[in-house]
Chain length 240, copies 2
């Protein structure tokens, strides 16, 4: 019996380690994809997209491991939540990897442009997103729901940056039609980072669910107003 | 014993019914959100966003039900896959609902525009996406992996439409700076529909996993070239 309990603990540890390792890879992947955009580095972009396959494989490994533990050990209560939580975290991480891959894909469309406006905003958003990923992963490993809640609240900053960058990019597009094509791609890069932040907050919610068996009491702050933002081209022309 | 088996079957049926019902709501939600955009109907948009809360609640109900079945019945093999599959499908459906909500959110930014170009493309994409959702949900209910595979392959059409609409909208933006603001929102509406199609293909993959215990052998077709598309403003001016 003692032996079975120990094997079960080992299984749970292995599952958590796998999810945390996957998270580390996604964190690096996000940083690299944005770096590839900033430097318009097509080689780095290509490598980032390769890493995405590794991330996809890791999700499948975690799914298989979780399924094996469920079938062999019939866990209940907090053990069951730990397994379901790891499954959900892996799913969110895989989506974050997809967003990073999509960021990297745009490098080819940006590589011909001599000078990009709006990159500072992208870099700032990415820095925050990366810190958020790191914090939620730490909160997962430590089982620290307070830290998870703090990270979850900070997504608001990313949303605010996104709205402001959205306006900024629209303004560039109105000022110079030659910037329309690349600014559109940067709009989607910004959106991808914003979504990565959303997935990080999902993970924070899952950490809370794993540890407490319940969901966050407060509802999610939504400061992403980019989808309701209008910049008027006529005003712009008169204004400048 | 007989009685326990029957109760277990009832549990699995209830779970599947709940996931299918959630799917039906998402299907209607997607149709309504696009209709709200086309008609610039802010009331319909508001209702669509309310329904999103119901969709979120349904996911939680499915999670709770799945967790209860796992804890009480300790299922293995195909029963275990059916439960994990329902969980994953509910997750994808919730994301599709989010995308529909994001589409509806943009109605307010579009409502001041007298005439929108590019709506035909949006309507065509949405029609295909809706058919895809219906087909994957049917394949789930029927446990029909062949139908799931056929639906999965058809996502390619949505991707191709997305790429072509992306080019079209960029062209409008270059021709008339006053269209930049609304075309940007339509770009994101198109992107949301494309992502809804992606989630539908995820569900097709899950159906295959539930029924066969394995993943699709062929790799996913990727015809979404919008992220590498460049439209040159200078060419446009010379060309027209």
């Amino acid at each position: 019996m003692e032996r079975t309990v120990k094997a079960f603990d080992n299984d749970l540890d292995a599952l958590k380690s796998a999810a945390a390792a996957m998270g580390g890879l996604v964190e690096a992947q996000v940083a690299d994809s944005v770096r590839a955009v900033v430097r318009r580095d097509t080689d780095l972009a290509a490598r980032t997209r390769e890493i995405d396959e590794r991330i996809d494989d890791m999700e499948i490994e975690i799914q298989d491991l979780a399924q094996r533990i469920l079938a062999l050990r019939s866990p209940v209560a907090s053990d069951l939540r730990a397994i379901l939580g790891a499954l959900h975290i892996a799913r969110d991480l895989e989506r974050m990897g997809d967003h990073a891959k999509n960021i990297a894909k745009r490098v080819s469309a940006l590589s011909a442009v001599a000078e990009l406006q709006g990159l500072n905003g992208i870099v700032r958003m990415a820095r925050l997103a990366r810190a958020l990923i790191k914090d939620v992963l730490d909160s997962y490993v430590d089982g620290d729901t307070e830290a998870a809640l703090r990270a979850w609240r900070r997504d608001e900053e990313i949303d605010e940056m996104h709205t402001s960058l959205f306006r900024e990019l629209l303004t560039y597009m109105m000022e110079d039609p030659r910037s329309i094509s690349y600014c559109t791609h940067l709009l989607f890069v910004a959106k991808n980072i914003e979504r990565i932040g959303d997935h990080a907050t999902n993970i924070a919610e899952i950490v809370h669910f794993i540890e407490e068996g319940s969901r966050f009491a407060e509802s999610r702050p939504t400061s992403d107003d980019a989808s309701v933002t209008v910049v008027d081209a006529t005003d712009r022309e008169q204004g400048t």
